[in-house]
């Protein structure tokens, strides 16, 4: 009983150490400058919007990346699905609910196409995703004649951003990802393929079907990201020549943080906490008025620092363990 309590405590510390530690540092920095981190409702909305967007992107990135499929096209799927849904809604005067639905369907169809191309041509996913990115960016540009989409004046479509709505999106997406990947046959097959592709295929798991479903789910979820980004600003700006891939880079650090936290809880919850941590950092950048170039450098250093820790954890623990043991020995003497 005592052991289980201790193990529970250890897990809780593992889960909360990073977000709480980061929040503490940020609060100290803000306090030193006399700034409140959450001063207005807008700050809360921005925080939850960032959490939702980054969490979903991180889950999507991990779906294929964990299986060794590097997918550059997730940003372009988000872009094109939001262009399609916004264009339809503006044309037929639809509300945000249908826009979200159309965005998810469009994203899922685009993801499905991407997956079908991958399994048909059997080229490395990184190459396919480069071609698909160019294709979808080009399609988005062509659909809007290069002008993008703007619905800033459409009060109905820009009414979505609110703390409540973002929390609902976060909870539903997280629950969906956990149920699908941890509690269905598809999820078990996915994990089997992830840990041993050849063995899994030889035991009868249908790899092609699994891969296509992965791409479709990833596409649908990126449709949500596209919807969140579009309704947040009321505009969708065009990107050509791989301009859309930058969204993917925002998910790497939360993915590694999530992977670490995932040792103590469900991996998807780890991604959520990773996204939450990054949302704290993003809000702090905004509140402390940190220049964008400095933001980039700090985030990159955090990524490298965290990776150095993850990849050298044993060495670091050995060094500290050795010191601790030596200190204990000296104390005994």
């Amino acid at each position: 009983m005592k052991d289980s309590g201790r193990s529970m405590g250890k897990r809780l510390v593992g889960i909360l150490a990073i977000p709480v530690g980061v929040l503490m540092i940020i609060l100290i920095l803000c306090g030193a400058k006399g700034i409140r981190l959450f001063a207005t409702e807008g700050n809360w909305i921005a925080f939850f919007q960032a959490t939702a967007t980054v969490m979903i992107t991180t889950i999507v990135l991990s779906i294929n990346l964990n299986s060794g499929r590097f997918d550059f096209s997730i940003g372009s799927i988000s872009l094109l699905s939001s262009v399609i849904s916004a264009s339809i809604c503006i044309r037929f005067g639809l509300a945000t609910g249908p826009m979200l639905l159309i965005s998810i369907i469009a994203g899922a169809v685009l993801g499905l196409c991407s997956g079908v191309v991958y399994v048909l041509v059997k080229l490395p996913p990184i190459i396919i995703s480069l071609g698909i990115t160019l294709l979808y960016e080009g399609a988005a540009f062509t659909v809007t004649n290069g002008y993008g989409v703007s619905f800033v004046a459409n009060n109905e479509l820009v009414s979505f951003p609110s703390v409540f709505n973002y929390i609902i999106v976060i909870v539903l997406c997280l629950a969906f990802a956990i149920v699908v990947f941890d509690h269905t046959k598809f999820g078990y097959d996915y994990k089997a393929l992830l840990s041993g592709q050849k063995v899994a295929v030889e035991t009868g798991i249908h790899e092609v079907k699994n891969a296509i479903i992965c791409y479709t789910i990833a596409g649908g979820m990126m449709g949500i990201v596209g919807f969140l980004s579009a309704t947040n600003t009321g505009t969708i700006q065009m990107a050509l020549n791989f301009g859309s891939i930058s969204i993917m880079f925002t998910a790497f650090l939360p993915m590694f943080i999530g992977g670490f936290i995932g040792r103590f809880c469900n991996e998807k919850i780890g991604y959520f906490i990773g996204a939450l941590t990054m949302a704290f950092v993003s809000l702090a950048y905004a509140r402390l008025n940190v220049h964008s170039s400095v933001q980039q450098i700090i985030t990159a250093l955090l990524l490298v620092g965290f990776l150095i820790y993850l990849n050298n954890e044993k060495v670091i623990k050995n060094i500290f363990g050795f010191r601790k043991r030596r200190a204990e020995k000296n104390y005994e003497v």
């Binding site: 059997k122 490395p124 071609g131 062509t142 290069g146 092609v208 891939i245 170039s293 990524l303 990776l307």
Partner: protein, 319 residues
């Protein structure tokens, strides 16, 4: 059996055939549209040469099965440092040396960081991409006139000729071909790319080879930065912004497998870079808008790569 051999030859030659077809299409459409073909060719060489040089060096990284996404940003930072040094010293030689040295340092930093701390190279280069992009903005802000750093156009005018650019490209490609095909460096790199575990068991140091590969790629980046200044002496935050992804496309377009290994080839970078530029120019000649042009480019890219790799299909889905 004979049919298989022909099929294999054809697949291996697909990138070259693709380039020849694109060249032919450019001449036919150009003649029909009554454009100045000579001027068009000059433009194509000017646009291709930077990507070709940088991609040629990058082949060494790709051969190992690694991947560097920060090369475009490294070109920008090296070019900016070169321009700053020219403005301080008024010496082209110093500018050239600074471009190459900075590029090698950036590349070595990437590889040493990855090797020393046991990090995945790709993620290191993603972090480096952010740092270098930020550095571009900082350098321009500190040393420029608001949004740019410029080298006087007349200072580099004599060097802005096809002769100089092609000479740099050809010399670098020859050196790389020698290193890649006729020295143990190339053999060891192909071995590591083909089977890293086996290579390690035979005593080949993956870390050392990674450092060598990144150093050679750094030289390519430095030369690319120098050529960038010569072609467009006014440097902004957008300088070489598309080079990073163009390199990946060029290498794959030229018939090089992204997984590296024994099928890697130096000439893939040059063929890919020129193919892409010919394709881009054909889209312009056909008056396609940027979106449709990019879609056609994507489709042709996938088709050519598909045919080129049709001999190397596996039962399992590739990862």
């Amino acid at each position: 059996m004979k049919v298989d051999r022909w099929k294999r030859y054809f697949a291996n030659l697909t990138p070259v055939i693709g380039l020849l077809v694109l060249m032919g299409a450019f001449f036919v459409i150009g003649t029909k549209e009554d454009i100045n073909i000579t001027y068009g060719l000059q433009t194509i060489i000017n646009q291709s040469v930077v990507v070709a040089v940088v991609a040629t060096g990058a082949v060494f990284i790709y051969t190992l099965g690694s991947f560097d996404i920060s090369l475009g940003a490294a070109v920008a930072v090296s070019a900016l440092m070169g321009a700053i040094s020219y403005n301080k010293t008024k010496s082209i030689l110093v500018m050239f040396l600074v471009c190459v040295s900075v590029a090698i340092l950036i590349s070595l930093f990437n590889s040493v960081l990855a090797s020393f701390f046991n990090l995945p190279v790709f993620v290191t280069t993603i972090a480096m991409l952010s740092v270098l992009n930020a550095l571009v903005l900082i350098l321009i802000k500190i040393n420029g006139t608001g949004s740019q750093i410029a080298v006087p156009a007349d200072a580099v005018m004599d060097l802005d000729s096809l002769g100089v650019k092609l000479t740099v490209l050809i010399l670098f490609v020859i050196v790389c071909i020698i290193l890649f095909n006729f020295t143990s460096i190339g053999r060891m790199q192909k071995f590591i790319g083909g089977n890293a575990t086996c290579a390690k068991l035979t005593g080949i140091s993956g870390s050392k080879m990674a450092i060598v590969a990144f150093a050679i790629a750094g030289i390519g980046v430095g030369l690319g930065a120098f050529l960038t200044i010569i072609y467009a002496p006014t440097l902004t935050k957008d300088t070489a912004s598309s080079v990073g992804m163009d390199i990946i496309i060029a290498i794959v377009f030229g018939g090089m497998p992204v997984s590296g290994g024994a099928r890697s080839k130096i000439y893939a970078a040059v063929i890919g870079a020129f193919s892409m530029t010919f394709l881009g120019q054909i889209m312009i000649l056909l008056n396609f808008n940027s979106g449709i042009g990019q879609m056609v480019k994507a489709a042709i890219f996938i088709i050519i790569v598909y045919i080129a790799s049709s001999n190397h299909k596996n039962k399992l889905l590739p990862r």
